[in-house]
Symmetry: C2
């Protein structure tokens, strides 16, 4: 049995959202599952000194254009939300509050869709709870153990070297960006 892909992403990351639409099919094609790891880019950016793309001169304008073009290229519904970027701490906590992993993945997809398709600000706890509720989930986002668990997951991601979203690890080999899916796919066939 082959090990699953480790899929790290931030709920505020357009490229993470795009990757989330494709990664399961890609993994399944090569006999693998996917372990989803939402994290907080803000924590990684503290380590790398990076700033959110949209705020960077020149690069920010390009990034917005590239988000939209990449979505069209991959034929994925997408819009830049009115509130962007946002802190996704509550979304992250809701995910880690969900013990059943299949349900947690459904929640992740629903949160991404709410944000990048339906323009719902998932930076707000109330909106996260609404999305969770639509799946029959009622996470207690203020639970201290959940807060600790979420922080530990985010810290573990950064400790593993995750500095961007999406970031995929297969058998120890890291791939940053949906634009490395071509290399990731070849690697799953034969490491090179």
């Amino acid at each position: 049995m082959k090990a699953p892909l480790d899929f790290y992403f931030d709920f505020s990351s357009p490229y993470g959202y795009l990757a989330a639409q494709k990664i399961e099919a890609l993994a399944a094609k090569h006999g693998r599952g996917v372990t989803w790891h939402p994290m907080l880019l803000g924590a990684a950016f503290k380590a790398t000194g990076a700033t959110p793309l949209p705020s960077i001169p020149l690069k920010g304008d390009y990034a917005k254009r590239d988000f939209l073009r990449s979505a069209r290229f991959h034929d994925i519904p997408f819009r830049i939300p009115d509130q962007f970027p946002i802190s996704t701490l509550h979304a992250c906590r809701a995910f880690y509050a969900t013990a059943d992993s299949a349900q947690a993945v459904r929640l992740a997809k629903a949160l991404y869709k709410a944000y990048f398709v339906d323009n719902v600000n998932i930076g707000e706890a109330d909106n996260v709870l609404k999305v969770a509720g639509s799946l029959g989930l009622k996470p207690d986002l203020n639970d201290q153990a959940l807060k600790d668990r979420t922080r530990a997951e985010v810290d573990a991601a950064v400790a593993k070297g995750v500095f961007g979203s999406p970031y995929i690890v297969v058998d120890g080999e890291p791939f940053w960006g949906m634009d490395r899916f071509d290399q990731l796919e070849r690697w799953m066939k034969v490491p090179f």
Copy 2:
């Protein structure tokens, strides 16, 4: 007649080097030529606040791995030079000193090969002159008009929004990175 691709790159950029090995064939396939525009990432980084990849925590280690893996993926000879990254001002000037554009492109390829295959430090003027000499070229790197021309080319690139390497513009549409060659190719068929 279709307009040529504008191909912006820094001689110290591994991804620029990789792109340089592929861009002419890609453009030709779609009935286009390529106009080569060496520039200085340092000037762009002043605008964006970026720092050279290798010096960034987490991202720097990943980048080195990705340079090497991307070269293997595209089957292109490559090594990380002992001196890396470097200022490529002299290399840039040598290019713009070369009036014949076909010769200038040959020089660009020779400089890239010297640096990323033969480990020659093209940050040094003497080494740039040796590479130029091997093509029968004798640029006067201290000529004031050449210095002015080079600065104007670099400033023009940044003014056009070039913030990274490689950066390709086709009919006004910008593509950053060799990993956008898939989108670039589709755009040359039909803008989307």
